[in-house]
């Protein structure tokens, strides 16, 4: 059995299947925090799970995906995959690195937001928003402007003794066809299920980064973007609305701790609502608009901290 050592969400991950989406661990012999096992194929997937295709119990998460296979995630440490005999391995990995990894993050008490993140001089910036809001596209635009990427699709936030941190993951983008065309093709890109997959290479940052702001993206028609700091109750609501697979949180042992963490994030981190026009010029302009807002919002605070 071949063993592949990866490093994502601050975890050393050993898998007996190849996952090109995950960054390699610098030390192949590091003790694993998480083990992923691909078991023998099955003839059919379970149809007795509590919520149809998934079930959450303390310490155990199960997922059954018709046409793909079934997954069992235990205590934030182990993922077992039973693929269907004729399943495509790309799809098997899609539900491993998406839904199953999301459930594992909940089990470990990490707060998974559905969005992309970049590293800036002010700290980590996360972009969230509804399906198709352009989170990956905006992150890819920042990447092209020279920023290092922390994550695409799922951003894990951890409470550490030093404060709130984002744990980087996934050394690739998943872009829809028009964004892929606009940002130009890259070496090593391939088409996977429904998105173009573009490796990040040197533009990836593997270390935890202090979390500074969360941006909630939405569309509007006006030419200039409208960027506002959220206040009050809205902050925690908008944060929870952008959890990755929120239904997987209910029933976890970590549920109460995760809700407290949501309160701390809403309290300590700046939440910005960002409405902008969805065209090429709008996206390019947004990078410089956000840079201005960040300088204005965070320059004073950073200066204060460094005294």
């Amino acid at each position: 059995m071949s063993l592949n050592a990866y490093w994502a969400y601050g975890l050393s991950i050993h898998a007996d299947l190849v996952c090109p989406e995950l960054p390699l661990h610098p030390e192949a012999n590091a003790a694993p925090d998480v083990e992923i096992r691909l078991l023998a194929p099955v003839a059919s997937v379970s149809d007795t799970l509590e919520h149809g295709y998934f079930e959450v119990r303390p310490g155990v998460f199960q997922l059954a995906v018709p046409g793909v296979g079934q997954y069992r995630v235990e205590e934030g440490k182990r993922i077992f995959i039973e693929p269907l005999a004729d399943a495509s391995i790309d799809k098997v990995r899609l539900f491993l690195l998406g839904s199953s990894m999301g459930a594992l993050l909940y089990q470990r008490g990490l707060f998974p937001l559905h969005g992309s993140a970049v590293e800036t001089d002010w700290g980590a910036m996360i972009f969230v928003g509804a399906q198709g809001a352009g989170k990956s596209t905006l992150a890819a635009q920042f990447h092209r402007s020279g920023y290092r990427l922390l994550s695409d699709d799922v951003c894990a936030v951890a409470a550490t003794p030093e404060g709130l941190r984002i744990l980087p993951a996934l050394a690739q983008f998943r872009l829809c066809a028009d964004a892929y065309g606009r940002l130009g093709s890259a070496e090593g890109a391939r088409f996977d299920v429904d998105k173009y997959v573009v490796p990040m290479g040197e533009g990836y940052c593997p270390d935890p980064v202090p979390l500074r702001a969360i941006h909630i993206l939405s569309d509007h028609d006006a030419e200039a973007p409208k960027i506002e700091v959220l206040r009050g109750f809205d902050r925690v609501q908008r944060l929870l609305e952008n959890l990755y697979r929120p239904h997987y949180m209910k029933g976890q042992e970590t549920q109460a701790a995760l809700m407290r963490l949501a309160g701390s994030i809403a309290q300590q981190i700046t939440l910005l609502s960002v409405a902008r026009r969805r065209d090429a010029a709008g996206i390019e302009g947004l990078v410089s608009s956000l840079e201005l807002v960040w300088a204005e919002q965070f320059a004073a605070a950073t200066a204060k901290e460094s005294i």
Binding site: F233, Q237, R260, A266
Partner: protein, 93 residues
């Protein structure tokens, strides 16, 4: 209008996840995708409901805490509890 009897037993539903933000308690129903913010008296009522209790006990507790006339307190509580019940935050037995 919904009326409550003194022996009606009030229990929080298990559907709600909650967190604290500033002076507010924020409740979330994952199943309904609904959010509620409770401040001041509403928050204190929600906290009282942490362990199930009867309507009479709750009225008594609020009367002492907020120094209001029992009839006024009782009517205000009925309005608020009925709303909580409608939104699925409260079970009445």
């Amino acid at each position: 209008m919904r009326h409550f009897g003194p022996e009606d037993r009030l229990t929080r539903t298990e559907d709600m996840l909650s967190t604290e933000l500033d002076q507010e308690t924020v409740l979330m129903s994952i199943d309904a995708g609904a959010y509620y913010g409770l401040e001041g008296v509403a928050r204190s009522i929600w906290e009282s409901l942490a362990t199930p209790l009867t309507f009479a006990v709750l009225v008594d507790r609020m009367v002492r805490e907020y120094k209001v006339a029992p009839e006024i307190c009782s009517a205000d509580l009925e309005r608020f509890l009925a709303e909580m019940e409608r939104e699925g935050l409260l079970r009445v037995e």
